[in-house]
């Protein structure tokens, strides 16, 4: 079983809340749940929806085919009607008269007038509709009633419960659902996973300036700031954000910032400062379609080239593309360790899709996490030199203020070992070499991309970051059709690990890059770093995430 419910309406109608209530109910029932958000850049009106896919088998992405539409307004039904599968239903909360008769027997119109009358509340229709959906899937009502408690205040709880009961009786079971085996899980989105990773890694300073789709990271951390003892600062602008993070890091804290492309643009001078001063920092770039303001609430993988090259001058950095919530958590922890080990900026590339989708996964494993700060203040120090030339290029780092007589000089000019301004050609050369050496050393940390698919793929897909879920599912689907295909999905992406790629490329008949952008940025990177040219590009750049169905479709049409 693999079902997909769309719940839609205008901004302000409670789409988010009802979607989460339904998803959490399904989660509690033990299903694998995947909730995907599609919303507009406005506070009221327009058209927003969530899609809740659930199954008793693991799932990794949203789907296009719909089993049920919960239409909080009429527009929702008409916009998504075409995606309904054969056996399917629309649950409508509007007056029956206004509804398109073309929907025929698919439509279930809830007796909203009565429910409102009975409950004395005009905002309970969503709850009734969700309950009705549960009934269609032959699920018990109790877990929903339980969920309602978490989302509604005492005042309106009763009304919602009543509405749920009414909605539940408005339909008859229609779809078969085998309740899954219970498993321990959490229901978390990519941004929450990043925030959890930061907390686990001991991040004590997060600065930000609100910008979709990065905002929920700072929001979560701010909620926890007292309990977790993490300082969370909303600054006056993104320039302050990055410079604050570097100040905090200099002073000895693990520091992190986040924004999306536009706000990140304002940080790139600071990125360069991190590079020159060898100050560790973790930077989340949560991509949305650009350029400029672009499509604020939609998704794209448009900043790969920009992030790799961001900031003036030459210095090492690491860029990790996050692939799914669990990866987001683990890579965030890893990013802090690498940033401090090599004293470089480490980037976490995510996007609106991954930021906003919520899925059930196994709880994170905290026992395997280690925090490696690479401070060297235990070693005896004669005269501390912040930029001491060493074999590895990595200089000892100490916390200013801790050792009487020892001072830390951090300098944005080209500097000597002590950190003072230099004009010397020889010192310059030594310092450039030192910094770039760290970039070489960093290569030893690289993790090869994850490979999914046939052992000897004829067609090799390459992809990165958040397309992980849809690509994985589509490969499994195509493999099931006996097509010898596989996908290499990059997480570490700069420096680019090329071993697996080179190996698999040798025997592949066709190499195809699949990206959520219009220019094929991974393909360009692979040409540059591995001298491998893709034969075909699958690109999508309308702000909506690739779905597994779309991928299968386009591979069959264009590639096979």
């Amino acid at each position: 079983m693999d079902y997909n419910i769309l719940l839609g309406g205008a901004a302000g109608q409670g789409v988010e809340t009802m979607g989460h209530i339904l998803a959490k109910t399904l989660k509690k029932l033990g299903f694998y749940v995947f909730l995907h958000r599609d919303y507009m850049s406005r506070i009221r009106g327009g058209h927003n929806f969530v899609q809740i896919r659930f199954s008793n088998q693991p799932i990794f992405a949203h789907a296009d085919d719909l089993t049920v539409i919960i239409a909080l307004n009429l527009e929702t039904a008409s916009l998504h009607y075409a995606r309904l599968v054969e056996q399917s239903r629309i649950i409508a909360v509007e007056d029956g008269d206004k509804i398109n008769t073309g929907y025929g027997s698919k439509i279930i119109t809830l007796p909203i007038k009565q429910i409102v009358q009975k409950t004395g509340n005009r905002r309970v229709s969503g709850t009734a509709a969700v309950a009705c959906a549960l009934r269609l899937f032959n699920m018990p009502l109790a877990p929903l009633l339980e969920q309602l408690k978490d989302f509604f205040s005492e005042e309106v709880l009763l009304a919602n419960k009543t509405a749920a009961e009414e909605g539940y009786t408005a339909a008859q079971p229609l779809f078969a659902s085998n309740l899954p085996n219970p498993w321990e899980n959490i229901f978390i989105n990519g941004n929450e996973a990043i925030a959890m990773g930061a907390l686990a890694a001991g991040c004590r300073f997060y600065a930000g300036y609100p910008m979709t789709p990065s905002t929920s990271i700072i929001t979560y951390l701010s909620k926890k700031s007292r309990q977790a003892t993490i300082l969370v600062e909303q600054a006056e602008d993104e320039i302050a954000v990055i410079n604050m993070a570097l100040g905090a890091s200099f002073a000895g804290l693990r520091a992190m910032v986040g924004s999306s492309g536009g706000g990140f643009s304002l940080m790139v001078e600071g990125v360069s400062l991190a590079g020159m001063t060898e100050t560790p920092v973790v930077i989340v770039v949560s991509q949305r379609p650009g350029p400029a303001t672009g499509f604020p609430t939609r998704t794209e993988q448009g900043e790969l080239g920009f992030v790799i090259h961001s900031g003036h001058g030459e210095f090492p950095r690491m860029v990790i593309a996050l692939r799914h919530p669990e990866d987001a958590f683990c890579q965030t922890v890893r990013a802090f360790n690498i940033a401090e080990k090599y004293q470089v900026p480490v980037f976490l590339l995510t996007d609106q899709y991954l930021a906003d989708y919520t899925m059930t996964i196994k709880p994170f494993d905290f026992s395997s996490i280690s925090i490696d700060r690479h401070f060297s203040y235990d070693a005896p120090i004669e005269q501390y030199l912040r930029y001491k030339l060493t074999e590895s290029g990595i200089s000892p780092r100490i916390i200013p203020g801790k050792i009487p007589g020892q001072l830390v000089y951090l300098d944005s000019d080209e500097h000597d070992e002590a950190g003072h301004i230099t004009e010397s050609a020889a010192v310059r050369k030594a310092m450039v070499d030192k910094r770039l050496k760290k970039g070489e050393a960093l290569r030893s940390e690289l993790v090869e991309p994850e490979y999914i698919g046939s052992e000897n793929p004829e067609v090799l897909l390459i992809a990165w970051g958040s397309t992980y879920g849809p690509v994985k599912e589509s490969v499994l689907l195509l493999n099931a059709r006996s097509l010898p295909l596989g996908a290499l999905i990059f997480g570490d992406i700069w420096p680019l690990p090329t071993k697996e790629l080179v190996r698999l490329a040798q025997n592949a008949r066709k190499i195809v890059n699949l990206e959520q952008n219009a220019t094929g940025q991974l393909a360009a990177l692979v040409r540059q770093q591995a001298m491998i040219t893709c034969h075909h590009s699958l690109l999508k750049y309308d702000g909506r995430q690739w779905s597994k169905d779309e991928i299968v479709d386009r591979i069959m049409k264009e590639v096979w």
Partner: protein
């Protein structure tokens, strides 16, 4: 205690020397330890100051000395944090941080070497260059009104606003020491001759115009302070123009207030495990 470097990149006769020495005096008078003091500076001639004195240094980007300084203090409240830079750096490129730092009222000292010119880039107008003054870029003279940092700071609600002069080290040392002692954001705007590029606001020009606030001047009187702030031209008051205690940021922010310096806290992944319950 605080050692000054013998070699600087400054021009002979520059006001920066007086500021450097006064800073040293102030730090010594407060019995601070060098390793517990940090100067965050930007880029410019003024911003080179921390290179010439034995304290910790964050010599960051042009215009960005304030945010770095703020975070250093937040990260380690045991440190004395001084933000030091030029008028261009502090009021031009860094203007937004300036006004918002005042709002934040964190316990840092902001020292501005106000030579009314961009020194390091060779003589363009700064936000404080006088109207109609000719510069190396504004050949017909500056057309926009200069900023008055003292009135701006008072208007924005700063708790400690002072002006001093690089040519009077006794006065300047005392003002800096008081600014450092003040709990909250403290601005010290220093009149500083730049003999190389500002041929109007010379040592003599300042010397002829400055006067000391009288003994009975009450810096806590906001109305008087506003009036004093406007005085500029023939007579220029120096001293602590406005002073009043306001809620200081650290004492307001529970994360910093209720903990040891954040750098001193141990890290452990297990501490975060409890938050997993949010997602169950």
């Amino acid at each position: 205690m605080f050692v000054l470097s013998n070699e600087t990149a400054w021009c002979p006769g520059c006001g920066n020397f007086g500021i450097l020495e006064s800073l040293k005096n102030a730090l010594e008078s407060l019995n601070l330890e060098p390793h517990r003091v940090v100067i965050s500076s930007g880029i410019g001639q003024a911003a080179k100051t921390p290179h010439y004195i034995s304290v910790n240094m964050f010599n960051g980007l042009h215009g960005r000395s304030i945010p770095a300084g703020i975070a250093i203090k937040l990260a380690n409240k045991a440190l004395t944090v001084i933000v030091e830079s030029g008028d261009g750096c502090s009021y031009g490129e860094g203007g937004n941080h300036f006004i918002h730092a005042i709002r934040r009222n964190l316990d840092i000292t902001h020292i501005v070497h106000n030579n009314q010119i961009y020194g390091l880039t060779k003589g363009q107008a700064s936000p404080t260059t006088a109207r109609m003054q000719k510069t190396e870029l504004q050949f017909d003279g500056v057309l926009i009104q200069p900023m008055n940092p003292i009135s701006l700071a008072i208007g924005m609600g700063a708790g400690f606003v002072a002006r001093s002069f690089s040519g009077d080290k006794t006065h300047l040392s005392a003002v800096i020491a008081q600014a450092i002692s003040f709990k909250g954001y403290a601005l010290v705007d220093i009149l500083q001759p730049c003999p190389s590029f500002n041929r109007i606001n010379t040592f003599k020009w300042y010397k002829d115009r400055i006067y000391y606030l009288s003994e009975d001047y009450d810096p806590s009187d906001i109305l008087q302070a506003r009036a004093k702030a406007e005085e500029w031209g023939e007579r220029i008051p120096i001293g602590i123009i406005y002073r009043s205690e306001k809620p200081e940021y650290i004492s307001e922010n529970p994360v910093v207030r209720d903990n040891p310096p954040l750098v001193d806290l141990p890290l452990s992944p297990a501490h975060a495990q409890k938050f997993m319950d949010d997602f169950r």
